[in-house]
Symmetry: C2
Subunit: 475 residues, 2 copies
């Protein structure tokens, strides 16, 4: 075993840095299970730390079951190195190019945002939202002191129950639980439905935060390509049989980034197979309300014993009004309410009041109708523009916020995005949406943001440069 | 090995129920490591499930490293049963009496709430809050579409920087990160600072959600009695030496439920010892602003390499304006920002704007001054009342929201709380704040809610009944 010196940094105790370095060496298999560590004296010399510090670190590693010790014989790497939780999420910290490109998607404001995951400010009905905020703030029923109702404000949940009913999902209000946002809803569901070591199936490509969040839960991730025809169902069955995922996390309608919606037939086959292999589905329906004529949701087809449903208003009303919701089987709904209390996930009553007002007074329905129509029109124009640029769409645009297009041959999406950033334009290259090299030549376009002459001019110019000077890609 | 039938319930797949039942039997040690399971045929008969269902469950258990199998020899309980993550939080689900009593603390509204953890609605400056909300909603700078700034709204963090500076904690704004609430801030810090199997030190008694949240992280919890003299420091040193906790989570000023604040001398000794044993501190300072003359915070004394600081406005402004904040060493602050993105923890900009306005316009400072004075006056009266009732205080009331008092001999706090609930009064019996029987004879009183003739009348009457009919306690 080779123990190298550690480049200690300021800001965290040396003990912790030793623990992290040794943990990594063990978990990556760099140090073989069962192998003997050098003596404490040797180690403290190599690392330049006191024996006290070193012993402290070794004690912690024993506490994590990464080391064993035997009186008088020293320390050994534990035999069972299939640690339940690995710290893989640390790998996702923003050191890499992808993070550099991903960050502006959620932070930078500006005009040129064809890569954005949100609608432009002026597309949202901000006057109606401000109006609902004002009337919620004025209402004497608003409780300033309270934390909010653990399961969620009842009138809002009743309004959601009505909305769900029109979408074919009829459930008692007790099974509708609000969450502060959709990612946090997913995070709490994962804590309840998954255990470290479980396997979870994701679409390839998919929303990048799905990968990031799953990494927090120490689960294994398997992916399958999401295509216009849904899945290669033979491949899906093989994957279910081989990997036995306990969960499938998916966006059923207007998927991010592909814009694909499972047709009724695709959904049926998918549900049949996942039921057969006892693979529970978490259905994210964040974009469904943007579809002109949404197909039936998975939860409406197969019921809540097989599908847990998750939706919210961050894309259709405002990411600032933090109201999402989960629809789940009775016990899971009760557990989720407890999880909200235990993890700080209770939703603000002020926001619940705002969304409740917009749902019950009809302004949400009117706003939604306008948005859907406007998207359809913009999407048609953007589709034509992309084709003129030499981009290829895997399927015709059918509504919603996103078009997923293959760039002209030889153009590298990440490099294009880097160049674009220099001109203040935010793009969403395919590599952001999964670790599959197959997505590297594609790009997600937000049709609302892309339907702008200035965006198209800047993009066209960048593309011309990229076409004539084929890239030397580091990957 | 004895495998009993499982009482299957509706609402979750049988496979999952088998996995949970078997996991529990293994994790509790009911099934010994290395022992052989009955054959698949026998098991499927005992449980009344198909072999397919059973094999699916056994596969999952193998995936969790709880079972091993050997071709032709059947299934065995894995040898290494020191599983990194146990599902202990499931034990905290509300089946028990404590949960029945705990629930109304966060849900029920009503007049008689001496057990409440919040100030009464009319104590909060709701007019100033509504005013700040209105002006935030009116402001054109409010971005409806955006998610908010990952680290938190900069002007708010600058205002917090100034506030912290006056409290002796001078830090760059980059190290101040907002979180939606304090429990979620803690939850994210635990994800970053702890690993399953680590040991965490808590005060006994302490805020019940500390226990609940730590259980989510699979850490071992050790507790030490928090006393008027701080700690028994000999016992603390022994505990640090024996259990090597990597973290100590505490409320340094006006602790919930005891109302105790570490004096400068106690804080110094505590910091010295925890530094010596490399035990990092998470300092919760949710109540410090209610102290008339707060002693120095641990973070201000020992710095952010040893202490991570956590505070918020849920007790002083409104639980509905979800703004808390963490002050941390540079790398931890950066990691926390990423954790916010990955787990849905980005704070709403609307709420950040509201708190920013109240801090920068001075209305928070004025409100705080009034609250502190009003608490001192109410606390003095409640202290006298409790003494008249025959309750004993371990130390004189010195400010803040809570008095922790020992009930008259023979009175059972939980039974008293149950009786009180029947009359619409919410009490907070000692058992809620830890699992130590020593706290069973104490009770937490919210001085603002208790300074009411009606509350005192109902409590006096209940106490008289409890004194004359000593309880048969089931515990």
């Amino acid at each position: 075993m080779f123990v190298s010196a550690i480049a200690f940094t300021e800001g965290s105790p040396k003990v912790q840095q030793i623990v992290e370095a040794f943990s990594q060496a063990i978990e990556t298999g760099e140090w073989a299970p069962g192998s003997k560590l050098p003596s404490v004296r040797e180690l403290s010399e190599t690392l330049g730390v006191s024996k006290f510090t070193l012993n402290e670190a070794l004690d912690r590693l024993r506490g994590r079951n990464l080391l064993t010790s035997s009186q008088g014989r020293g320390y050994f790497v534990a035999m069972d190195t299939a640690r339940a939780v690995s710290s893989t999420w640390v790998d996702l910290l923003p050191q890499d190019l992808l993070s550099v490109l991903r960050r502006p998607l959620v932070t930078v404001n500006g005009d040129l945002r064809p890569g954005s995951g949100h609608l432009p400010e002026e597309w949202l009905n901000s006057e109606a939202i401000r109006q609902a905020m004002r009337s919620a703030v004025r209402a004497p029923s608003l409780r300033i002191a309270g934390l909010g109702t653990p399961a969620g404000l009842l009138p809002l949940r009743q309004a959601l129950q009505q909305k769900l009913h029109t979408e074919g999902l009829s459930v008692p209000v007790e099974q509708i639980i609000t969450t502060p946002n959709t990612v946090q809803g997913l995070d709490m569901l994962m804590r309840l439905l998954a255990r470290p070591g479980d396997t979870v199936l994701l679409d390839a490509p998919c929303y990048f935060n799905f990968h990031a969040n799953l990494a927090l839960h120490g689960v294994k991730v398997v992916t399958l390509e999401r295509r216009p025809e849904g899945f290669d169902f033979t491949a899906l069955e093989q994957l279910l049989a081989d990997h036995r995922p306990s969960l499938y996390l998916t966006t059923s309608v207007l998927q991010n980034p592909t814009g694909h919606s499972f047709s009724p037939g695709q959904a049926f086959r998918l549900l049949q197979l996942t039921q057969q292999y006892h693979c529970h589905i978490i259905e994210d329906d964040l974009y469904g309300d943007l579809h002109p004529n949404p197909p039936p949701r998975l939860a409406a087809l197969a019921g809540l014993d097989h599908v847990t449903y998750l939706s919210g208003f961050s894309k259709t009303l405002s990411a600032n009004t933090r109201v999402s919701y989960v629809v789940a089987a009775p016990q899971l709904a009760a557990n989720l309410t407890n999880m909200k209390l235990m993890s700080g996930g209770v939703t603000s009553e002020l926001f619940e009041q705002i969304v409740y007002r917009m749902l019950s007074e009809g302004s949400y329905a009117r706003h939604r109708k306008r948005m859907v129509q406007r998207l359809i029109e913009a999407g048609g124009r953007v589709e034509q523009w992309l084709k003129r640029c030499g981009c290829e769409l895997s399927m015709p645009y059918e509504g919603g916020m996103f078009i997923w297009a293959r760039l002209p041959a030889g153009v590298d999406g990440e490099q294009l995005a880097q160049e674009a950033l220099k001109q203040g334009m935010v793009l969403a290259p395919g590599a952001l949406f999964g670790y599959d090299p197959a997505h590297r030549d594609s790009m997600r376009f937000n049709v609302a943001h892309s339907d702008e002459p200035r965006v198209q001019q800047v993009f066209d110019a960048l593309l011309e440069v990229a076409k004539v000077s084929p890239t030397k890609n580091a990957y």
